[in-house]
């Protein structure tokens, strides 16, 4: 029998196998679709109201269309300018026309505010130019317009403002992200990088990380003994302790912060006690300080650190400790060599959770901290609702999320592998 015959012999069987496996595959695909069906409404909901808004933030952080939209011809004309001195007189004419149009459309101030982000006194420079233009028709002679503008504000005779306008012939830029990263972004009229009054974002990130770290360390130091005692207490005692540690999940964050404000304020109970006992001459203001912020956050986060520790500690068999003791280890040595190492995944999970949550804190520092205790979240809120600078708010959000991911994802992966 040749190989050819064999292959012919088994062909029908194999093709049937293939058919069957095709049917199985089809069934599996159908099964997967059927399995996914109940989850579809939530998935759609999350796609629409979680994924799309996050993408919107990403888009807002690089979307920067104000200048290109208001001054399309000027920015286009500036593309051929070499960036030294000032552009040709014709560009002044184009700009004057577009400034006039913006003034009539009511977008001049918004444009000015946008330029101001990047140019010292930018709003004034634009308004001065607009005001210097004659009420009636613009002069046909571009040279005359240039003289009017330079006369109104000397900045128009320098390269700074032109260099900024030149950059924005596209509706996208990395400006807000560079700003949020603390890179030098502000120019002066001469086009030189200026310190400019502004926000020191790197310091704010550092502060956010340091406060979060302090809270994480405190919750681990306080939480480990608490989790240990709860894990090893049986019956009613354990239940009561667990109830106390779960309390924060049930009392709103605001209520707890409120109670701290009431107790710690200058005319509050703590000051009353301390002065009453003669420990303090005059009441102290504990509130609106860094320690108050860290204390409040620690109090709020303690249970988040404790719960993962607790669930890991409960799986550590007591027999192992008894075994270690029977082999001659002292109680402390048994704890340090048997119990503690096995509790590490819980400690890591709990502290990671608390750290990530702390990075996004906003309400608590705002209510019990001083202006120099505000974390990134407060600035996102401030730029959204007070300064109406959504581009910067979005860029700060991107930096916050990316930073949190970079700081924690490698650790999170390791924690997952251990768990």
């Amino acid at each position: 029998m040749s190989y050819g015959d064999v292959s012919r012999d088994i062909t029908p069987a194999r093709s049937r196998d293939l058919r069957v496996s095709g049917a199985i595959r089809k069934k599996a695909v159908g099964g997967a679709a059927k399995a996914a069906l109940p989850a579809a409404p939530l998935l759609l909901f999350l796609l629409l109201f979680l994924v799309v808004p996050l993408l919107t933030i990403l888009h807002s952080s690089v979307s920067d269309e104000q200048i290109a939209a208001t001054l399309p011809e000027t920015t286009a004309a500036l593309q051929s300018w070499d960036g030294t001195g000032v552009p040709a007189a014709a560009v002044y004419g184009t700009l004057a026309g577009e400034l006039r149009a913006a003034d009539e459309a009511g977008t001049l101030r918004r444009l000015g505010r946008r330029v101001q982000y990047e140019l010292e006194g930018g709003l004034g420079i634009l308004l001065n130019a607009s005001r210097a233009l004659p009420e009636e028709a613009l002069p046909g002679d571009a040279q005359a317009i240039r003289e009017l503008m330079v006369g109104a504000d000397p900045a128009w005779g320098k390269p700074g403002v032109w260099r900024i306008l030149q950059r924005y012939d596209t509706p996208y830029s990395s400006f807000y992200l560079r700003w949020a990263l603390g890179l030098p972004t502000v120019l002066d009229a001469d086009g030189a990088v200026s310190d400019g009054p502004g926000y020191d974002f790197p310091t704010i990130y550092l502060r956010t990380v340091l406060i979060s770290l302090a809270v994480t360390v405190l919750t681990v130091l306080i939480g480990y003994p608490v989790a240990y005692v709860i894990a090893t207490s049986a019956g009613r005692t354990g239940a009561i302790l667990l109830f106390l540690i779960l309390l924060p999940f049930w009392t709103s964050l605001l209520v707890r912060v409120m109670s701290l404000i009431v107790v710690l304020q200058t005319n509050g109970v703590v000051n009353q006690l301390l002065t009453g006992m003669g420990l303090l001459g005059d009441p102290l203001s504990f509130l609106y300080t860094r320690p108050a912020t860290i204390f409040a956050m620690t109090q709020i986060q303690l249970s988040f650190t404790v719960l993962p520790m607790l669930s890991v500690m409960r799986t550590i068999p007591a027999d192992q400790l008894r075994g270690a003791r029977s082999l001659g280890a002292g109680p402390i040595r048994a704890h340090a060599t048997i119990f503690l190492p096995q509790a590490v995944p819980g400690i890591a999970a709990g502290s990671l959770l608390t750290f990530v949550m702390c990075l996004g804190f906003y309400i608590t520092p705002e209510l019990v901290g001083s202006p120099s205790d505000q974390m990134v979240g407060s600035f996102i809120a401030q730029f959204t609702s007070e300064d109406l600078n959504w581009g910067l708010a979005a860029a700060l959000s991107v930096v916050l999320c990316a930073g949190a991911a970079i700081l924690t994802l490698p650790l999170a992966r390791r924690v997952r592998r251990h768990a």
Partner: protein, 263 residues
């Protein structure tokens, strides 16, 4: 079990003292602050000249009653939406054939991990295009986003104990999918659904960051009024509002406890 008794006394005593202190730190500020709502004077120290319910009476003003009603309405709508979406999703995710199950699970829990202020900003910008800012629907959507993970978690937990062959048994006896869900699966997972619903309600009832971003000046809730009051000069009315909130959540907590014990 009680291997801590192994530790020598000189370790155990400080350990207990430390744990007692830590737990006191959790409870004492509340215990000291809440009774001040009964002080007749607007002062924050003990003892009181006289007890009074005047700060609770202040909660009967239209401003506060409006906020209480609004909070409850938002929380009820959020609970219904989040419980429906979350329960269905958990049932889907319990199926091992679910495509990209881990990824979807991460997506489902993401609202708990992404900072609320970032979610709020994203929704605020996105809602601006949909004209959903300052609307009841917008707030309910935002709260549902935050509340749905709780339902997914609690229902998923009860489903791990659910025997899916029961559903096949029901089908073999002629039950349709919906009928089988209602009569076989739902009674078994009800404690998880109930616990998830209560957590969703509490999450919405306490929520303030989303409110600050996407609710209008006309839309007040209890947490929002408390927050605004705390930013200015704190007033005993806010403590009274906190007492009411705590009483409310305590009832919810007792309900969850009973649900969990009943299973």
């Amino acid at each position: 079990m009680r291997h801590y008794h192994d530790l020598p006394l000189w370790v155990r005593l400080p350990l207990y003292a430390f744990v007692a202190l830590a737990l006191a730190m959790m409870v004492l500020p509340l215990a000291a602050a809440l009774p001040i709502s009964l002080n007749v004077d607007p002062w924050f120290v003990y003892p009181f000249r006289e007890f009074s319910l005047r700060w609770f009476e202040a909660l009967l003003s239209p401003r506060w009653t409006g906020a209480i009603v609004n909070s409850v309405l938002i929380a009820v709508a959020t609970t219904l939406l989040a419980t429906g979406l979350g329960t269905l999703a958990a049932i889907g995710l319990a199926n091992p054939r679910f495509p990209f199950r881990n990824l979807v699970m991460v997506l489902g829990l993401a609202p708990l991990i992404v900072p609320v202020v970032v979610l709020a900003l994203g929704l605020y910008i996105f809602f601006g295009q949909l004209s959903l800012n300052y609307t009841f629907i917008g707030v309910v959507i935002a709260h549902t986003l935050l509340a749905s993970p709780f339902v997914v978690i609690t229902v998923t937990a009860t489903l791990t104990r659910f025997d899916f062959t029961l559903m096949r048994a029901a089908a073999s006896l002629g039950a349709g999918r919906v009928f089988a869900f209602r009569t076989v699966m739902l009674p078994v997972i009800a404690p998880g659904v109930g616990a998830g619903a209560i957590l969703a309600f509490a999450a919405s009832f306490d929520e303030v960051v989303m409110m600050l971003f996407i609710s209008g000046p006309q839309q007040q809730t209890v947490p929002k009024l408390m927050y605004l009051g705390m930013r200015e000069n704190i007033n005993p009315t806010i403590i009274a509002a906190a007492v009411v909130t705590i009483a409310f959540t305590s009832v919810l907590m007792a309900a969850t406890y009973r649900l969990n014990r009943g299973k």
